[in-house]
Symmetry: C2
Subunit: 217 residues, 2 copies
């Protein structure tokens, strides 16, 4: 991993780095070798100074008057984000959203391999989804010890999120992405991320309300 | 709408306000009438001063030595966020994720009613999902004029996101929540939100990598 110049990198920077990787990969596929900071910024929907600031956390990139070398920059960011490897993931909660994620090609494409699907509903246990057999959640700690799993995804209803988290913690998971609209408790050395797209709908509703009040729409 | 003391409210504040609403609703259901700022902060996973700061954008809340009145605070936040009404929503892209959202009860529960589902795949057109018949995307502008739709959700593959956005814009939509991992272009008075849970997986991967480097796990 490259030497980090700062210990703590803002979350927004990590989100943008992920966008940079996506755009750089797209450029690489189109055979682009070098990109100006203006072009990269434009593709990513940010301004060039933001990109320079974000990359400064990781070292010196870009050549004055030339721009960025697409492959090198992409590899450096991926290495910094820990994306130069694949991550084994288990998913708890095989409802509509869980099924969608199990079948969603983008996770695998980005290096996150779902190796186990768990649910406590006896009607779901044994069902096969995207090549995985649904296993009883209580077997999660024993099962994940067999595999090398570092990340857990929770897609249970909110009232079952903490129980799912407890199984994951018992299994020694190091990071959790929680799609259930509920806070979960975990030790401080376990990274927890919340995905709550209702917040995005709230934001849009709020912005529309504001735009209407201002007479912009 | 309450008078806003500031024109521009940070996105993170809006996200937290959404969490406050959720927790306040839970308390209300449990018959809680008044909550201390410490208890509310604890339930929401923030510190009390953060709550005070966030609420200060909207006015004066809380009574010294008492705390917050659960119902009143919840209603005030909902009104500020534009959540004191329901919002009609259309969804474009009936893949795994689109189907999951159509069937996901949480959207309706939070006041976002999906009134139309669109896809350009002839094999999907006419299919019924969660009580909605899938309609050809090209008919979106005509169809949404019949309904009172303000928000569009995009769940297409990335390469079709802009086309979906164009249909929504043509239909006069005022806000878009884009789940496709692609930037979209829209006029500045149209609010666009991106939901990209891959970023959350990236963040967890990054944090695990960092924690490992520090010897914390």
């Amino acid at each position: 991993m490259p030497h980090l110049k700062h210990d703590r990198i803002p979350r927004a920077t990590i989100s943008r780095l992920a966008i940079y990787v996506q755009e750089l990969e797209g450029m690489e596929q189109q055979g682009v070798k070098v990109v100006s900071s203006e072009k990269l910024a434009n593709a990513c929907g940010v301004n060039p100074s933001q990109i320079r600031k974000d990359l400064a956390y990781f070292g010196e990139f870009g050549v004055r008057g030339v721009g960025y070398y697409v492959f090198e920059l992409k590899e450096a960011i991926k290495q910094s984000l820990g994306l130069d490897k694949t991550w084994n993931v288990v998913l708890v909660g095989v409802g509509n959203l869980g099924r969608a994620l199990l079948r969603h090609g983008v996770l695998r494409k980005r290096g996150f391999i779902i190796v186990g699907a768990f649910d406590c509903d006896p009607f779901k246990i044994g069902e096969e989804i995207a090549g995985l057999e649904v296993i009883c959640s209580s077997k999660l700690p024993a099962k994940t010890n067999e595999l090398y799993v570092e990340i857990g995804i929770i897609t249970t209803p909110p009232e079952r999120a903490q129980r799912a988290a407890n199984y994951l913690l018992e299994a020694g998971i190091k990071g959790i992405v929680n799609f259930a609209p509920a806070r979960i408790n975990a030790p401080s050395n376990v990274s927890v991320e919340y995905v709550d797209f209702i917040h995005n709908l709230f934001s849009v509703a709020f912005n529309i309300t504001q735009n209407q009040a201002k007479g912009l729409i």
